[in-house]
Amino acid sequence: MSPLLFYAIALVIIVPALAVVLSENLFHAGLCMIVSFLGIAAIYATLSAPFVAAMQVLVYAGAIAVILLFAFMLTHDIMQPQLQSSRFQQTASGVVCLVLAGFLGRVAMSSNWQVLKSQAAEGVPLGVLGKSFLTDYLVPFELVSLLLLMTLVGAIVIARKEEKDRAAWENDDVAVKP
């Protein structure tokens, strides 16, 4: 990958990422996040990992970010100024971000990067990838699916109607009828 291409893509990732944090308009922030995700997918694609790139677009840009925007549309008065974060929250998150950036920078600087031998443009065959998911990396793979299952169950527990409420709601429904 030529350095120029890398910097161009890095710009596409970083500028929208900054906009996500700094934008006052939540909807714009969500859209900028998607642009940033697409930039990351472009990095994967240039690193001969088309499968990871496609997954990045499908899962992050196509599903997670869309659900986020969907939640914005369902939330009443999301654009009201009183929903802005307080000065304390802003300071705390700034400190956390700086610490994280410093930590990542330190790891990046101290690591000795190995240059792997270059691969074919189409990357690792999918069959090899799938086999290693189900053999060498089975435990992490299953752990991730367990995490997703936990999230799903948690979401259902939060969202479900209690039996009492449901009865009240249905009676209400009947009462409205002439």
């Binding site: 909807f27 925007l69 189409e122 999918l126 249905e170 429904d173 009947v174």
Partner: protein
Amino acid sequence: MASVRNTWIHSPAGEYLNRLSEQTLGREIPALLLMVIMLAIMLVFLAVSALFLIWLERKISARIQNRMGPMLSGPAFLRNRSMWFGGGFQTAFDAIKLLLKELIIPGRADPVPFVMAPVLIFGVSVAAFLVVPWAPALSVADLNIGLLYVISVSSLTVLSIIMAGWASNNKYSLLGGLRSAAQMLSYEIPLLFALLGPILMAGTLSMQGIIEAQRELGVWFVVPSFLGAVIYYVAAIAEVNRPPFDIPEAESELVAGYVSEYSGMMFAMFFLAEFSNMMLVSAIAATVFFGGWAVPFMPMPEQPDLLYTLIGGVVFFMKTYALILLMMWIRWTFPRVRPDHLMNMGWKFMLPLAFLNLLICAGVAVMQAEATAAGQPVSRLAVWLVGAVSLAVIVGGLSLFKEKDRPYHLVSAGGAEKKE
């Protein structure tokens, strides 16, 4: 020998252009220019076929409703000849009219997403066409992850609809966007699982590879996974927001849903995208379930062959258009589905059936693996048998439910009926 054939089928169309230019001009086309040429060909092709499809849709709707449809536009000698010749230029004139109209951006709209949405929706649909295998060696790129690429790129369609719905700053648009997001996210899941079965049987995600696998098996994948084909088709209609799943733009309740505030060419972009998406999902169905360009009763030549490519292209088009016609037929004969029914059907009915279909396809894949291990071809009869038996079992199983207990029963879940 097989390797020559493989490289022939999988080589992208650009290689032909390069070879042609080498023979005539003595040098290859620069990569960037080649990209521009391919993109231009795709755009022109898609725009023209969308215009044609819009005309076709009007004529078919007219036929179904016992009308004539557009009759007067076009050269005089074609007017009032027969229903299918009159009005051939109608959509071309429509396009010109739309191009000349003013682009109105509402004062309280969010301008950047508002303008970006129609561009994005058409761009995404053009990008997804990159891997469609029109004929052997005639796709812009034969990616290793072809089908996954199409799915991941077209998952951005819903994004542009949400953008349009939100940025219009209009409650009907917002409702349309919301409905569309819910619908498209729900139906993406059965769609993916329906495609997973054929992928399992083909052992590859490459579009040309899937066609090649069906040729080797000797049976189209629709036979063992008929259920998958039906689920894919229904989910695909929901994905392109066409009737009976057009609740995001239901005109009787939502004006025009997320397109309410759009005018002129921006509106036309949504329209173009709808028709090119229709073609895209039909082309994918033709590739994955109906054997793509494989010509029946004609042996596949080992070397690159122009005749086979041409006939293969015609076969692919015929399959795609048959599926598009079915979609139009469904559009003009079914009433619109109610949003909660739509959700019920997607999650409680289509998703479990898609899992079942995956199971059947996995069985066929095991059969294939065993036959390969034994060094003999898979018996076609066995595949047909699997398809017939599984279909009979599923239809029989569903008919065992009492009418009102059927999982797809479309009476709403509320208990009001019982109490009366």
